[in-house]
Each structure stands twice: as structure tokens, then as C-alpha cells.
């Protein structure tokens, strides 16, 4: 146990480093900050809610920089797309926060936030899961036919629809190999920003599917590009929370020490898998987070009287981090085994390179 004087609590250092490490792996792999996992975990460790958000945001900013540098080296960032989206994201976050304040005045913010979280996350899970299964089957079919398969297979028709909107200026995103109206990118940033600001999260889990299914970027590019957004939003959030005195730097240092290693591993792990594998992990993350939000929603609706629900939510939050981390590491391990021509499960062949 270590004493954190700013937060006024004692918490185990090892757990903070471990949380940083696991969320670092997940964040570097699927391109999210992981606030929806870290903030509840920090509250469970005893940090007050406002301080959990502050510590989370500051650690996300640091981790985002490490992941972004690594993804830039891997050629996974489209700067045109990232910078076009930043303006829309910032405006969207501001609108989202104002919407939140409106519901707060009505006195129903907790229920509305949780219900919206459940609807958004479950909807994204369903779409991502169905599309990814289709893509997985399509790769298996191509493998049987002996065709050459690249890093990405995507079966959604939505990107073509949005890429055909003839609204000037049209931008050429060279790294992503996408030609699309700039307004589509700004609008995607704004809508995901509204949701992020309203739900009080970074929004990576909304932006990555949006970049893939609306703009038409490959999953690897979507992950790298979203991490650039996270550096901006996390950096701004860290600054605001620091000014308000919501950050215990000792806790941030412990978390970042784990996250820096985890983020490198997670970013490098993307080089062992095809796009659908990243989307599978993203969808698993979404369904587990949905289950956690449902438990918390029922807990709030029952007047916070059923304690066992709160306990299940805690277990699910911790379990989710471990689960995603194990899945990513095992995929890399299977990929290495496949390269050495050793036995791997059948479903792994088409997901790894």
C-alpha cells in the first residue's frame, strides 16, 4: 500500500501499474484511451470520482503520445484525416458537455448517461460483430481459393455511400487511400465528440468504428489516427483537471510506468493481425463494457440498494481488462506459432499474418 497525499487515500502500487499496463496494451491495439475501464477501476481502488477522471485523463494523454509515436513509425497515421477531425471533435465535445449540463439541471443525468452508453455501445457491438464475422468468413473463403489476402478485409457498404457525397472541399487522405469530402470527416468528429462529451469519455470506442465504417479507413489506420485525437483530447482534459486540482501525479506516474510498456506492446501487436482481429477485440470490449453499464444502470434504478450488482460491475471491469489483454497477447503468440508452422486453432489462420 502506498499513501497518496493529494487524493488522501492508500492504494496498492502494483495494481496501479498493472491497470496501466493492461489498458496500455488494449489502447495501443484497438486505439482507445480506455477511460471507460480505468475510471471505474480507480474508484474501486478508493480514489474519489473526480480524481479518478483527472488521473485517468492525464495518464491517457501520456500513453496516447507513446502509442502515437509507435503507430507513426508503423505508418498507421493519416495526418490529413486526424487534423481535419480535431476541429469537429473539439466542437462536438463542447456541445456534448452542454447537453450533459442540461440533463443535470433536469436531475436525470446518471440514468440518461447510462442508458445512452448502453444503447450506443450495444449498437456498435452488434454492427461491428456482424460485419467482422462476415469479413472473417470472406477471408476464410479467399484462403480456400488460394487468393492473396492483404491486411484488411471490410464488407460494409457504408464507406462508399459517404465517399460519394460531392461536397467541396474534397480531401485526399494519402496514407488511408481515401478520397472523401472534408465535411464528412468534420461531421464524424463532431458527432463522436458530442457522444464523448455527453458520456464523459474520450470517445475512441466510437471514433474507431466511425473511421472504418463511415470514412472507409482500414482498421490499422483508424487505430493510429484515433490515437492522435486522443493525444489532443487527453492533453486538454489533463490540463483542465490539473488546474482544478483533480490530479494526483504520484498515481499518474505509477500508471504511466505500466502504460508506456503496455502501449508499445499493444501498438506492435497490430503488426501480427489483420483488420478484422482488431475489430473483434473492439467488439468484445464493447459488449463487456455494455454489460458493466447495464449492471450500473440497474443499480441506479433500484435506488443503489442491491449491493451485489455493484460488486458484479467491479468484477466485470477488472475481468474485462484482463480478458482483452490475454486475448491480444494470445493472438500474437498464435501468430508467431503460425509463422513457425506450428499448430494454431483454425479460426486464427485467417485473422493473423
Amino acid at each position: 500500500m502506498f499513501s497518496f497525499p493529494v487524493a488522501g487515500i492508500e492504494a496498492p502500487i502494483l495494481l496501479l501499474v498493472l491497470v496501466g499496463f493492461t489498458v496500455g496494451i488494449v489502447g495501443g491495439f484497438i486505439g482507445v484511451g480506455g477511460g471507460y475501464m480505468v475510471t471505474p477501476a480507480l474508484i474501486v481502488f478508493g480514489f474519489p470520482g473526480y480524481m479518478a477522471s483527472g488521473i485517468d485523463m492525464t495518464h491517457i494523454a501520456g500513453k496516447g503520445i507513446v502509442s502515437t509515436i509507435r503507430h507513426r513509425q508503423l505508418g498507421n497515421i493519416d495526418w490529413t484525416m486526424a487534423l481535419s477531425m480535431v476541429a469537429g471533435t473539439m466542437l462536438g465535445v463542447e456541445l456534448g458537455v452542454r447537453l450533459l449540463v442540461y440533463f443535470k439541471h433536469l436531475g436525470i443525468s446518471s440514468i440518461v448517461i447510462l442508458a445512452t452508453s448502453v444503447a450506443v455501445m450495444f449498437g456498435l457491438f452488434l454492427y461491428t460483430q456482424i460485419e467482422t464475422r462476415r469479413a472473417h468468413k470472406s477471408i476464410e473463403k479467399m484462403e480456400k481459393e488460394g487468393r492473396n489476402i492483404g491486411w484488411e478485409v471490410q464488407t460494409s457498404r457504408l464507406p462508399r455511400l459517404f465517399q460519394n457525397i460531392p461536397l467541396a472541399p474534397i480531401v485526399i487522405c494519402r496514407t488511408a487511400r481515401v478520397v472523401v469530402s472534408m465535411w464528412v470527416i468534420v461531421l464524424v468528429g463532431m458527432v463522436t465528440g458530442i457522444l464523448a462529451g455527453f458520456l464523459g469519455v474520450g470517445g475512441g470506442f466510437i471514433r474507431v468504428p466511425a473511421l472504418v465504417y463511415i470514412i472507409g479507413a482500414s482498421t490499422h489506420i483508424a487505430v493510429g489516427t484515433d490515437l492522435v485525437e486522443i493525444v489532443f483530447s487527453g492533453g486538454y482534459g489533463a490540463l483542465r483537471h490539473s488546474i482544478e486540482g483533480h490530479v494526483d501525479m504520484m498515481a499518474v506516474v505509477f500508471m504511466i510506468s505500466g502504460a508506456m510498456i503496455g502501449a508499445q506492446i499493444g501498438s506492435l501487436a497490430t503488426q501480427y493481425v489483420r483488420g478484422p482481429a482488431i475489430r473483434y477485440i473492439l467488439s468484445y470490449s464493447l459488449i463487456l463494457a455494455t454489460c458493466g453499464a447495464v449492471l450500473r444502470l440497474v443499480y441506479v434504478l433500484t435506488g443503489q440498494s442491491v449491493e451485489i450488482l455493484s460488486l458484479f460491475a467491479v468484477m466485470l471491469t477488472l475481468g474485462e481488462m484482463i480478458f482483452l489483454c490475454l486475448f491480444i497477447i494470445s493472438l500474437v503468440w498464435f501468430a508467431v506459432r503460425k509463422r513457425r508452422e506450428k499448430w494454431v486453432p483454425d479460426w486464427v489462420h485467417s485473422l493473423t499474418v
Binding site: 496498492p12 495494481l15 474501486v44 481502488f45 478508493g46 468484445y284 455493484s310 460488486l311 467491479v314 468484477m315 466485470l316 477488472l318 475481468g319 474485462e320 484482463i322 480478458f323 490475454l326 486475448f327 494470445s330 486453432p345 483454425d346 479460426w347
Partner: protein
């Protein structure tokens, strides 16, 4: 075990059980008093 791992759903369930078990151990060791 090989049959279980060979199915994606089976592998998913196996990892989930391991993860929730690990979460329960972490809870017992460090967090019981905090909640």
C-alpha cells in the same frame, strides 16, 4: 482442451472464465475492504 480452443466461442469463454477468476483473486487480495 484442444477442441475447446479450436472454436472461437470456446476460446472466448475459456479466457473469460480465467479473467473473471483473476479479477476475483485481485478483489480478495487487495480490494475487499475498499468497497
Amino acid at each position: 482442451m484442444k477442441k475447446l480452443i479450436n472454436s472461437m466461442l470456446g476460446y472466448w469463454i475459456l479466457l473469460l472464465v480465467i479473467s473473471l477468476g483473476a479479477a476475483a483473486v485481485i478483489y480478495e487480495i487487495w480490494l475487499r475492504g475498499n468497497i
